[in-house]
């Protein structure tokens, strides 16, 4: 797709309240389906690099299973310590059932 967006998943691949870990350009991206919509962030916690895909999505909050850091999946911002650095967040474009991502992160 033009403008650098790549097809990564279908909207039916991940139920609301769930996440899906995807490999893309050598990095792990976590696709999150919240009530507010679909969002894509880095899968590795910025604190100690635990996999957020092994944590849980609650509302718009992704919970790290290792030290309990939490991030807002909408923009990758830190919600609780011990993390201090925001997660990279990736713009999505949804056309029909197809989800496209731009891997130039907005705040990496």
């Amino acid at each position: 797709m033009k403008d650098g967006y790549q097809l990564i998943a279908s909207t039916t691949d991940v139920a609301q309240g769930k996440t899906l870990c995807l490999q893309l350009d050598g990095r792990e991206i976590l696709l999150c389906h919240a009530k507010e919509g679909f969002f894509a962030i880095d899968n590795l916690c910025t604190h100690a690099e635990a996999r957020l895909s092994e944590g849980k999505l609650k509302g718009c909050k992704i919970l790290c299973p290792l030290h309990g850091a939490a991030f807002d999946v909408r923009d990758g911002s830190v919600l609780t310590r011990p993390a201090r650095t925001p997660l990279a967040s990736y713009p999505l474009r949804i056309e029909g059932e197809q989800i496209y991502v731009l891997t130039e992160a907005t705040n990496a």
């Binding site: 309240g17 919970l63 299973p65 290792l66 030290h67 309990g68 919600l79 609780t80 310590r81 011990p82």
Partner: protein
């Protein structure tokens, strides 16, 4: 003994009755319940008024740092308090962090049958383990300082450089467990490991709520707001309906019923769709009294539009039936046997020190008031709307709380609908009251009946803290 028929004449003058026996004029709440078409369950027909004294209560209780510090030492670490709902902990590894003043508790589902609670503190050098309050998820706990870790059951999982800690065992350095018991779908904690069991503490509530259980409710909405008042002043704004006339411009509640059940539980019941014009006899103006509202007007007040009452029909029975049918269908819940009172009325049980449970359908709230960190003059008000859950459905994932600051209005939460302005009115007096607390020659005066629940909490808290201080 039923005392409300002993109507005091000339309520502006000092009553000639024994203190605490006077009641508002006109029909009492129980009289209304007894005429309901769908009969109220027996706990709602009990009356248990108590006269507990009429001395002023010092405002220092709400403003003093010393009193707040006593609460931190002798109240919060000693009392039962609900921390979350069971559905917050649906899966093994679901975690809730509950903060109360300087204390923080981890509550987690260890397995299908077991929920445990621990102090949120590393047993090595004391670091707080999980930062944010609310939901977390993990198959264990790891301290961010030196990486000590524990299993969900609190046993040590790993200590890096174990050779240096031959003096450390599970018995000495497992997570520090606190009491954790469940009732009505709520998970309660108590930091006092010698506390009486929760069931005994709940008193009449276990039996009463058998008639209107809360475990088959789901959290429809959770709003958590900061309020500019001491936690006790804030909760006391919700403990009587005496303020309804002035604060909410409403006739309902002037004849509300107030019950005291032992030291820890109290209740009010105030009717919707019915009120006593006589109870307003010495309130300013003629509004709602001369002429009184018609049944048709009261029906409109209950948002039942386009339905003309037939001869002999009451607003209460028609509103209850309309809600029974419409809301029952909307929620997929059979409300056919649910009483008019449970459908319509504001029925509020309070559990010491800071918890409120409403078994109603139109008024289905749960409240919790607690200090905002270590600030005497502000608090956190958790408000949850608890919707009936269809019999064949499992609890859905509960919504995350919506946070409102002191300055924000409840009207920013669309789902609150008609309740939003009511909560703005209820909380709108608090800043003024807190200012007034610090600008007075005298203390707080309470009505002997309508404000008896506030005095009950005051007396219980004084006794509770004194006993704790004697023990320590």
């Amino acid at each position: 003994m039923r005392v409300h028929n002993q109507v005091a004449q000339g309520m502006t003058k000092k009553s000639s009755l024994e203190p605490g026996t006077a009641r508002a004029q006109g029909p009492a709440t129980r009289d209304v319940l007894l005429t309901d078409k769908h009969a109220a369950p027996s706990p709602l027909l009990e009356e248990s008024p108590q006269f507990l004294g009429d001395e002023d209560i010092p405002f220092e209780r709400y403003t003093s740092q010393d009193y707040f510090d006593r609460e931190m030492k002798s109240l919060w670490p000693r009392t039962w308090q609900w921390a979350c709902r069971e559905e917050h902990l649906a899966d093994t590894g679901d975690v809730q962090v509950y903060d109360i003043g300087r204390y923080s508790i981890i509550i987690t589902r260890v397995d299908e049958d077991t929920i445990k609670a621990y102090l949120n503190t590393c047993t090595h050098r004391g670091t707080r383990l999980l930062d944010g309050e609310g939901s977390h998820y993990s198959q264990g706990f790891t301290c961010p300082f030196h990486g000590w870790s524990w299993h969900l059951d609190g046993a040590i999982r790993n200590i890096p450089g174990r050779w240096d800690f031959p003096h450390v065992t599970d018995a000495t350095h497992g997570l520090q467990e606190v009491l954790c018991q469940r009732w009505g779908g709520f998970v309660f904690i108590n930091m006092d490991r010698d506390a009486q069991p929760l069931e005994a503490y709940l008193g009449v509530m276990t039996e009463h709520f058998d008639a209107f259980p809360l475990d088959r409710r789901r959290i429809k909405l959770h709003v958590q707001k900061r309020l500019p008042a001491n936690w006790k002043a804030a909760q006391e704004a919700f403990m009587e309906a005496y303020h309804n006339f002035e604060t909410h411009d409403s006739p309902h509640g002037a004849n509300a019923q107030y019950d005291i059940f032992g030291k820890y539980v109290s209740r009010f019941i105030h009717n919707l769709g019915s009120y006593s014009p006589q109870a307003l006899s010495d309130y300013p103006g003629d509004k709602w009294r001369d002429p009184p509202m018609t049944e048709q007007e009261m029906l409109a007040g209950l948002a039942v539009e386009g339905r003309t009452l037939a001869e002999g029909e009451t607003a209460r029975e028609v509103a209850a039936q309309t809600i029974r049918e419409n809301l029952g269908a909307e929620l997929g819940v059979d409300l056919s046997a649910t009483s008019d009172s449970i459908i319509l009325d504001s029925i509020e049980y309070h559990l010491f020190p800071n918890m409120f449970f409403f078994p109603g359908i139109v008024v289905p709230m749960v409240y919790r008031f607690r200090p905002n960190g270590m600030d005497v003059d502000s608090c956190i008000f958790d408000l949850m709307l608890m919707e009936p859950l269809p019999d064949d459905e499992e609890h859905p994932e509960p919504p995350e709380p919506i946070h409102l600051s002191v300055e924000q209005s409840y009207t920013e939460v669309e789902e609150l609908a008609w309740l939003a302005p009511v909560y703005d009115e209820d909380t709108g007096n608090l800043q003024l009251q807190t200012q007034g607390f610090k600008n007075a020659f005298k203390g707080m005066t309470l009505g002997n009946y309508q404000e008896s629940r506030i005095r009950r909490i005051y007396l219980t808290q004084e006794e509770f803290m004194q006993q704790a201080e004697e023990r320590s």
